[in-house]
């Protein structure tokens, strides 16, 4: 039945979701990080009672509020789009998303939205202690909101804790804790949250640098830099550590993604970690023996070490995964397509038997789905059954995009660590304002964490392709059957709206920043 899927529908639907998700992610990481920075400042004000700290809290809180609103506005679109544009996916994964969503709705959303009102309106209305509590609860609520959507996303990367129910044609959860606390989920959460803290820190350091360059609000800028510096250095360290764990996790759960982001076409022992490199223009993603790189500089054995904690470990390349590698016990994609087709055929026969009332065949077919051996041999490859042997390259993600996104993210991550460390060190010695060129670097670095953060999501989501649920459900099977024209229309409506909102947001932010903490 999937032969009839219109590819332009799939592309427009993906485009629309990517547009919304990436636009949402412009605002969310800043909100996540700023909420805690504001809560820290608020705490210091509560302790010291100094007006300067109140001024600071209010200034950053205002920027937080502007961002928060637009983050909320774009967040609801994502929730709706699961249903409107990915309805088959919604049914297929609904049973797994259920509990995380319930937890998120009940614990996080209301926490956030209730206390944000108190945080903004409470200055003269509630007690100082309650007001401070509201700032912290808002920060926790906002960050808790991120937990569950990341759990859901991790499950799409690494579908654990579930079993396929052939009667309902969907995956059903068998262990909530396996889903919520899978290694993939924990690492992803920590990496995403701390990189958001880092983004907010670089933002605060950069904006403060602007005040110092203008020689305005010097005390405010210095103190803000110190708070953001501490926050930034810690966040950068955890981001880098969890990034490293993430590589190990991906090697285990999504070897194809790892091969793509490192541009590793042929597997090897002592596999190098590339520091930098450029792919040839004519390099295809299929491994064909041709040289793919113009140049590459790497550290031999480091990738093997990251994956196996042993420099001699074998890391499979795209070629090993596509064509198989008997020595390493890797099945070829052709073989997996064949086995996947058997699984799909079995499901169809089961349904047909049910329709004609043939209970015996029906029971025999249903039985297979609960036989662990059959599940391992056949059902595990279910998703592959949607593909054709002639189109093996459909099964490889976009190597160039993944390779560059990954390396840009890593290089920028190191830059942020160095920048926040220097800013913190100098600001504590009251010398941060003495070096104009450093302030300029800090100011010009403001957009960079956004680039790094978006690049990270490109790796996570495009590296997962062609799957929506890794190796179980292909993206083409997940889409709602609509006229491509309808999706095209909504795509452009969203583009127009987002552009207007983006301009408004930037203009409002700039004017608020220019007013400074003293302005009204």
């Amino acid at each position: 039945m999937f032969e009839s899927i219109d590819m332009s529908l799939v592309d427009w639907s993906r485009g629309q979701f990517a547009l919304t998700a990436m636009f949402h992610w412009v605002f969310v990481p800043l909100t996540l990080g700023l909420s805690f920075i504001v809560a820290f400042m608020h705490t210091i004000y509560f302790r010291t009672g100094q007006e300067e700290w109140k001024k600071m809290t209010k200034f950053w809180m205002k920027l937080f509020g502007i961002n928060f609103a637009i983050g909320v506005a774009t967040g609801i679109i994502l929730e709706f789009e699961f249903g409107t544009n990915w309805s088959n996916y919604s049914w297929f994964v609904g049973d797994i998303f259920g509990t995380p969503l319930a937890v998120e709705g009940i614990f996080a959303f209301f926490l956030e939205s209730t206390f944000i009102a108190i945080m903004f309106f409470g200055w003269n209305k509630v007690s100082k202690r309650f007001h401070l509590a509201a700032s912290w609860l808002t920060a926790f609520g906002a960050n808790l909101s991120a937990v569950w959507i990341l759990v859901a996303n991790s499950w799409m990367q690494n579908p654990v804790g579930t079993v396929f129910n052939p009667l309902t044609a969907r995956n059903e959860m068998t262990s909530f804790w396996d889903v919520a606390l899978s290694e993939t989920a924990v690492i992803k959460f920590l990496h995403t949250i701390t990189s958001s803290f880092l983004l907010a820190s670089i933002f605060v350091i950069g904006v403060s640098a602007w005040f110092l360059l203008k020689n305005r609000e010097v005390l405010f800028a210095r103190r803000s830099t110190i708070i953001a510096g501490v926050f930034g250095v810690l966040a950068a360290l955890v981001t880098i550590l969890t990034g490293d764990s993430s590589a190990r996790d991906i090697a285990r759960t999504q070897p194809m993604k790892l091969a793509a982001i490192e541009g590793l076409f042929d597997g090897q022992t002592r596999a190098p970690l590339l520091a930098i490199g450029a792919l040839r223009r004519d390099a295809t993603k299929m491994p064909d023996g041709n040289e793919k790189f113009i140049f590459k500089i790497g550290f031999p054995g480091v990738l093997s070490y990251m994956v196996h904690l042993d420099t001699d470990g074998f890391v499979p390349g795209i070629s090993d995964l596509v064509y198989g590698n008997e020595e390493q016990g890797i099945l070829s994609y052709e073989e997996r397509i064949e086995r996947g087709s058997v699984a799909i055929q079995t499901l169809k026969e089961m349904k047909r038997a049910k329709d004609r009332g043939d209970e015996v065949t029906y029971a025999a077919m249903a039985e297979k789905f609960s036989d662990p051996k059959w599940v391992e041999d056949y059902f595990q490859h279910f998703g592959f059954g949607y593909f054709k042997k002639a189109d093996l390259d459909d099964l490889i993600p976009n190597v160039k995009l993944n390779f560059y996104s990954f390396h840009i993210m890593v290089i920028l991550g190191v830059h942020f660590l160095i920048l926040s460390a220097i800013a913190l060190w100098l600001a504590m010695r009251n010398r941060w304002g003495n070096h104009k060129w450093l302030l300029w670097i800090a100011l010009l670095s403001i957009p960079l964490p956004w680039i790094a953060s978006q690049a990270g999501w490109v790796v996570a989501e495009l590296g997962r392709q062609p799957w929506v649920v890794y190796e179980l459900m292909p993206t083409i099977a997940a889409v709602t059957r609509l006229d491509a024209g309808a999706v095209q229309l909504t795509f452009w409506i969203f583009t127009l709206t987002f552009s207007a909102l983006f301009i408004a947001e930037i203009k409002i932010m700039l004017s608020q920043i220019k007013k400074g903490p003293g302005g009204h």
Binding site: M1, G65, A69, V72, A73, I76, I77, E79, F80, F82, G83, T84, W86, S87, N88, S90, W91, G94, D95, F97, G98, T99, L101, A102, V103, G105, I106, F107, F109, E112, S113, T114, I116, A117, I118, F120, F121, G122, K125, V126, A169, R170, E172, M173, F176, R481, L482, D483, A486, T497, A500, L501, I503, A504, E505, K507, I508, S511, Q512, K515
Partner: protein, 375 residues
């Protein structure tokens, strides 16, 4: 504790929770209703600022309840989410759009360099109040009147009309609920103003508007109720799961579930009582009767749609594709684990109540707005 419950009991428990969230949402639409009066009651800049600020303290609740209502529906009845959202594409996209423009408007309206101008954001709020309430009313009406879809063996939806759900506005029945929700939201918005604003001009105009809006609300509500009681409904054979048409199904449901009848009648009386005391006497707490009354009425309607062997999201095109609380739900395991989470709901209500009270102790005046307007 929940693990021992049957799958059906859990499905019913979650349908009740979803229904409660939906009912609460309609009550909280007072924010949307209030937004439609920005121009007719707020004649001056100052008056509009007062209106926006009293509504602005509550818009997040409505928005969050909408998100949670959607989330809870997705979580407990994913097949409904997949079928309705994917199928009635245009209805949901327009509703979605109406809420996207709301979320930014409060925050951006009075900010310097806001690009689109104050008036645009006020218009966004107005549009949200109109389209959001009306279309959700129309969409919920299809719970009784049915839609044009079929499901295949993988439970994938095929919608039969190119209008993708917008065809629902060509039915008098669906329209009657759409307008009922719209005028109800306006009435609740007015009652909320009476409860929270201390400004003579605004209060006088609010009272006048209350009279103008109560009449259409009552008429549309009567029309809807009569049509609902008279129409055939989508019944389910509990033994075979087969769906068939039953004459006067929703009237029968009301009679066969006396508790629902009591809830329905009690709710109607509370809504009317809240409105009438506000109209006839100088009473500003009408919202505290009409609001909970709304919750009760909407809740009873959800019960009529889904309980007593009724298909809550029926297909008029292919009866057997209709969704019931049994064939559209999540697995037993998932419903059990969600149920444990739901035990925290009373705690959430408690802090929401506490927070609400702490901000609404005094009515808002023009003087206060001069020094302490956030939006």
């Amino acid at each position: 504790m929940f693990g021992n419950l049957s799958h059906l009991a859990l499905q019913q428990y979650w349908y009740v929770i979803v229904a409660l969230l939906g009912s609460l949402l309609v009550f909280l639409f007072f924010v949307q209703g209030g937004q439609t009066f920005l121009f007719s009651i707020g004649k001056s800049e100052n008056e509009r600022t007062i209106l926006v600020n009293v509504l602005g303290r509550k818009w997040e609740f409505t928005f969050t309840t909408l998100v949670t209502f959607g989330g809870a529906f997705f979580a407990s009845f994913p097949l409904f989410y997949a079928t309705s959202f994917g199928g009635a594409y245009w209805v949901w996209i327009i509703i979605l759009f109406a809420f996207v423009i709301q979320a930014v408007s409060y925050e951006f309206r009075t900010k310097a360099s806001n690009f689109l101008g104050k008036k645009t954001y006020e218009t966004f709020l107005f549009v949200n109040g109109m389209a959001g309430t009306f279309l959700i009313g129309v969409a919920v009406a299809t719970f009784f009147s049915g839609s044009q879809f079929a499901l295949d063996e993988m439970n994938s939806v095929t919608w039969q009309t190119r209008a993708r759900g917008l065809e629902a506005v060509f039915s008098v029945f669906n329209l009657s609920l759409g307008f009922t929700v719209f005028f109800l939201a306006r009435v609740l918005g007015l009652l909320y103003f009476l409860n929270n604003i201390d400004n003579n001009n605004i209060i006088q105009r609010t009272k006048k508007q209350l009279l103008y809006n109560v009449i259409p609300f009552v008429l549309f509500f009567l029309l809807f109720t009569v049509l609902l009681m008279l129409r055939d409904g989508y019944a389910v054979n509990p033994d075979t799961g087969e769906v068939f048409m039953e004459p006067y199904k929703y009237f029968n449901n009301l009679v066969q579930m006396p508790l629902v009848l009591v809830i329905f009648l009690g709710g109607v009386m509370m809504v009317l009582g809240g409105i009438l005391t506000s109209l006839l006497r100088d009473y500003s707490n009408g919202i505290w009767f009409a609001g909970p009354g709304t919750v009760l009425v909407v809740f009873s309607l959800f019960m009529l749609a889904g309980f007593n062997n009724t298909a809550f999201y029926p297909s008029a095109y292919d009866l057997q594709s209709s969704l019931t609380i049994q064939n559209a739900s999540s697995s037993h395991y998932t419903l059990v684990s969600m149920s444990y989470v739901s035990m925290f709901v009373p705690f959430i209500f408690a802090y929401i109540w506490f927070a609400w009270r702490s901000l609404n102790r005094k009515k808002v005046t023009e003087e206060e707005m001069k020094e302490d307007a956030h939006y």
